[in-house]
């Protein structure tokens, strides 16, 4: 076999593999997107319409304006059931983003402060504190569901952003600290030493030297925290009560499983829920990969 032919074959193989993986990854999401532009009736026809034959934005229109889609049109005194919870998706989207952004920022600030001390400083109880942080994540979340509810309730924080943020922080901070500590350790210590000798404090060193160098790692840790709190379901379910604080997974579960669920509105709600994490993943994927490379680079 000539080397040119071999190269061509190799390239073809790579592209074929790429297409297969892309299909597996994207097809389910595209199908939901496709479905969100179909009416309820069309979704129930068999075989399924791979492309909407009567494309409609009615499902999205209902979510944002409350205008009943044509496929649910009133006839007689009874209207077909419609998931009213779908109307709460925009507010839930806002709640989710507020909670996730707050958790992300708190993780970046508090996590970086603690991680740097773990990485560079010597003090009594260091190993104990570190192992305690990581060990705290071993107990399955379900075990502490009732105690969490009791604490949040006792602090009068049920149905508030603060309650959710605190709980999400407990789950994300240990990972952030661990991740950033290893990240900071991988940085060359000499620059920091020089700055310290020049009279900079630890805090200045952290903010002026370490963090700029560790930016990709910080972004990666932030992204993990964002994803976690945006996606968390069990505690959001237990600790929220009204749309004042209910996040998307709670509303989605409700839209999808309530007795008045409709497939079309579920699809439209899911599509809306996918937008922020997808934008996030797209925007930060380079940092994510770089952050991970840097974190693992020393191994």
């Amino acid at each position: 076999m000539t080397s040119a032919r071999r190269k061509l074959l190799q390239k073809g193989g790579l592209w074929a593999a790429t297409v297969v993986v892309l299909f597996f990854v994207l097809a389910p999401m595209l199908w939901i997107l496709d479905s969100s532009f179909q009416g309820e009736n069309e979704l129930l026809t068999r075989p399924s319409h791979l492309l909407p034959q009567q494309p409609t934005v009615g499902n999205f229109d209902y979510i944002f304006t409350g205008a009943i889609p044509r496929s649910f049109e009133v006839t007689g005194t009874l209207r077909s059931r419609i998931s009213q919870e779908a109307r709460e998706v925009p507010q839930a989207l806002e709640n989710s983003i507020i909670v996730a952004v707050a958790v992300t920022i708190a993780n970046a600030v508090l996590g970086a402060l603690a991680a740097y001390s773990f990485a560079r400083l010597r003090f009594a109880g260091k190993t104990l504190a570190f192992n305690f942080l990581l060990g705290s994540r071993l107990l399955p979340a379900i075990a502490v569901a009732i105690p969490y509810y009791a604490i949040i309730n006792a602090a009068n924080l049920l149905d508030t952003y603060t309650g959710l943020i605190l709980v999400d922080l407990t789950f994300t901070l240990p990972f952030t600290v661990w991740f950033l500590r290893d990240h900071f350790r991988a940085l060359p210590e000499e620059i920091e030493e020089a700055a310290l000798i020049d009279g900079c404090g630890r805090l200045q060193v952290l903010f002026r030297i370490v963090l700029p160098l560790a930016a990709p790692g910080l972004v990666a840790a932030g992204a993990f925290a964002f994803m976690f709190s945006y996606n968390e379901f069990l505690f959001a379910l237990l600790l929220t009560q009204t749309i004042k604080s209910q996040t998307l997974p709670v509303i989605l579960a409700s839209v999808a499983t309530n007795p008045d669920a409709s497939l079309a509105l579920t699809a439209a709600s899911v599509v809306l829920a996918m937008v922020p994490p997808l934008l996030f993943a797209l925007g930060f994927q380079r940092f994510l990969a770089r952050g991970l490379v840097a974190a693992l680079g020393r191994t």
């Binding site: 009874l78 077909s80 919870e85």
Partner: protein, 460 residues
């Protein structure tokens, strides 16, 4: 506890700040949760001189209707403020467990016959006391299953929100195309009709049943199939299992399902993972002919726009010798917390319950009529069938006489004790193993009986 009462009194009288109160309560060795729960209670108590706040919790169905009902109630009861919260139906029970355990203020909430024993035994909800005398006077007008479903240890725990029955539904269009004139009277006849429909290629699996392990409805469908047969009982009067005796109705039901699924292939194996909504959607798409669903789903199936067979879905008595079926009631329950609130709050709660589930000036409250007329929800009252408006509304998608007859044939689920949830979870999986042929019918029933006996013993 005496110290605590003194403390509470001091707080209510304004002699203690909240912070001091918490410190001293914690000093007494109480958990913070209890302290805050007490404080909540006190906070509400002190507000009662002005406007009365009632906390009302429901699952998320017809939320805008509920909100509108609340608005109307408040406009005629100016001093009462309703704090309304709703949770998704699928998570409602679990959310309420956390809520009651955490002592979150709740005065009135939806409950169900399914949970009554558990909630009453845990002392989360309370029987309707003498303060609610009018509410207890309606007993004779309820269908028997409705009254049974709200009664625990001889005491009445609520007033119906809605009360439905499980009904045998079929696609009339499929039957016509197969040349079948009347729906099946027995399970054997159902098998024959289904085979006929299958052989003509009208539906590959004419039967689809709601048997998903995760849907609490699955045990209700199964019990309704047991009830419909001769001697269709699970337990004797002393709650001893009879379902594992040779040739029991329960054994016949399982054998029928095994045959339908694995030999005759008339029942869709997807039944084992089908919850209520997928069953309704699949029936609407015309993929199947026969099913068992709550009657309000007949309304959903027959509304124009719900699918190509809208208007073709009919109801028949459950096949079998007795035609008995399962009925259930969802009701407004009063929490134990409410009994510790001032008399004027309890009076407001009484008015609220009347308006939402009972009668106003001797006639059915607008809320009761509205759920029936606008949403097609079944109701617990015999005499509401005399209302012309209600009959007209139900005639649009069903047969009022058939619906009423099903309610008379309905019985509450058997085995509703505080340990029923444990047995239910065990049984759902055990039944599926039997349907799939992983165990024999008798082995499954024996295991269910063993489980029941040990639970009964452990809870006596």
């Amino acid at each position: 506890m005496k110290d605590l009462e003194n403390l509470t009194a001091e707080l209510a009288g304004g002699r203690l700040s909240r912070r001091e109160f918490v410190q001293r309560v914690v000093g007494l060795g109480l958990s913070g949760t209890a302290a805050f729960a007490l404080m909540e209670a006190c906070g509400q108590g002190s507000q009662s001189s002005g406007s009365i706040q009632l906390s009302f919790v429901t699952w998320s169905y017809g939320v805008s209707t509920i909100q509108d009902n609340i608005k109307k109630f408040q406009s005629s009861h100016k001093n009462v403020q309703i704090q309304f919260q709703d949770f998704a139906w699928t998570n409602y029970h679990d959310t309420m467990v956390a809520r009651f355990t955490g002592k979150t203020p709740t005065d009135i909430c939806y409950s169900s016959d399914h949970w009554l024993s558990e909630w009453a035994a845990a002392r989360w909800i309370t029987p309707l006391s003498s303060g609610f005398s009018d509410l207890t006077s309606y007993k004779s007008d309820y269908f028997p299953y409705v009254l049974q479903g709200m009664t625990y240890q001889g005491k009445l725990y609520g007033i119906p929100y809605y009360a439905d029955t499980w009904a045998f539904l079929y696609n009339q269009d499929h039957l016509q195309r197969a040349g079948i004139s009347t729906p099946p009277q027995t399970w054997e006849e159902l098998t024959q009709q289904a085979l006929e429909i299958k052989s003509k290629g009208i539906a590959n699996y004419p039967v689809l049943l709601l048997f998903s392990q995760s849907d609490p409805g699955s045990i209700e469908v199964w019990e309704s199939m047991v009830f419909s047969r001769q001697d269709g009982h699970l337990f004797d009067d002393n709650l001893n299992p009879v379902f594992n005796r040779a040739g029991s109705a329960a054994a016949k039901v399982i054998d029928w399902i095994r045959d339908a699924m694995n030999n005759a292939r008339i029942m869709d194996p997807a039944s084992l993972t089908s919850e209520e909504i997928p069953v309704v959607k699949a029936m609407a798409s015309g993929a199947h002919t026969f099913t068992i669903l709550e009657t309000y789903n007949q309304a959903e199936l027959n509304k124009s726009g719900s699918g190509p067979f809208a208007g073709k879905f009919k109801m028949a008595p459950m096949p079998g010798e007795t035609h008995n079926t399962v009925g259930y009631v969802r009701f407004y329950a009063v929490t134990d917390q409410l009994t510790r609130r001032p008399p004027d709050v309890q009076k407001a709660a009484d008015q609220f319950l009347q308006y939402f589930g009972g009668k106003v000036n001797g006639t059915f409250s607008p809320v009761v009529v509205r759920w029936a007329v606008e949403n097609g929800l079944g109701f617990g009252w015999k005499s509401l069938w005399d209302d012309q408006q209600v009959r007209t509304a139900f005639s649009q998608w069903g047969d009022p006489d058939m619906l009423r007859r099903n309610q008379e044939l309905a019985r509450i689920k058997e085995g509703l004790t505080k340990y029923f949830p444990d047995w239910d979870v065990f049984t759902r999986a055990e039944l599926q193993k039997a349907y799939l042929g992983q165990t024999s019918t008798q082995a499954a029933l024996d295991a269910m009986a063993e489980k029941w006996k040990s639970l009964k013993q452990g809870n006596s």
